[in-house]
């Protein structure tokens, strides 16, 4: 049995890296990749906490649902990116600022 803290620290590292990717990248697809990293960091934490309480499988089943939601998010997000690219000829989120002007 491995110490749970190592899983949690890896999850924290993945979450922080995903946060930095979301903040710094100027491309909508890279932002979606960062969101995938965030969701998988939460999955890793759920699996690690399931190691602590193995009499129930709530953590693993909940991370299955997290994977389903991640698939929905990737599909809808990429469809929106394609639509915006066709409309504005750009995939940089900062340049789509029609509501702001």
């Amino acid at each position: 049995m491995f110490p749970v803290e190592h899983f949690l620290i890896l999850g924290a590292l993945l979450f922080s890296a995903g946060l930095v990717v979301i903040i710094t990248k100027r491309n909508a697809i890279m932002v979606l990749l960062g969101i995938e990293l965030l969701l998988n960091a939460s999955n890793l934490n759920l699996v690690a906490f399931n190691l602590l309480h193995p009499s129930r499988l709530d953590g693993q089943v909940f991370s299955l649902f997290v994977i389903v939601v991640a698939v929905c998010e990737a599909a809808v997000g990429l469809a929106i990116v394609l639509r915006i690219y066709r409309q504005y000829q750009t995939s940089i989120p900062d340049q789509v600022s029609e509501l702001k002007d």
Partner: protein
């Protein structure tokens, strides 16, 4: 150090390095490859943490589904000039500062809390695939059905959003 522990820390190191390299990478295609490497090594970690069903699901969904969708997205949104899609960085130092501060706070909190496992933890997790299968059909049936409905709605919505809808004026004869 046993073989399982070596594999666990190897997969963990690969996942951590690919996630950190994603911060510096500039080409979107390489970024997608790095994310897939990270997610596959996370699947290895899941398999070593007694979550075999989750590991197989992770490999099938991410390597088979999301990778293809993301690479199609990259190909469809890059200008047709033969050059790879390169991104710029904004808010570089503030982003790094926010990420590292968040990481420091999380590590501090994790180190300050003692996680105590329940008794005889190793034995119960052996039949996790069987227990997930019966659990999905009995105890977690309502969330399972809701997740299926959500997936259906999201995929229909994505197809509708990404489709090229013809305007009414072009459609007089139909």
């Amino acid at each position: 150090m046993s073989v399982a522990a070596f594999m666990l820390y190897f997969f963990g190191a690969v996942a951590a390095m690919s996630a950190i390299a994603l911060v510096w990478i500039r080409q979107v295609f390489y970024g997608a490859i790095l994310v897939i490497i990270c997610l596959l090594s996370l699947a290895g970690i899941f398999a070593l943490a007694f979550a075999e069903f989750l590991a197989v699901t992770q490999i099938m969904v991410y390597a088979g589904g999301i990778l293809v969708v993301i690479i199609f997205g990259i190909m469809l949104t890059s200008k047709i000039s033969g050059k790879p899609l390169v991104v710029d960085h904004t808010y570089r130092w503030s982003g790094m500062l926010a990420g590292s501060a968040f990481f420091a706070v999380l590590v501090f909190l994790i180190n300050n809390h003692a996680f105590v496992p329940a008794d005889h933890a190793d034995k119960l997790l052996d039949q996790s695939v069987q227990r997930i299968g019966t659990g999905i059909m009995t105890e977690y049936l309502l969330p399972f059905e809701i997740a299926g409905l959500l997936l259906l709605i999201a995929l229909i919505g994505a197809a509708v959003i990404a489709a090229t809808l013809k305007t009414k004026s072009n459609d007089v004869s139909g």
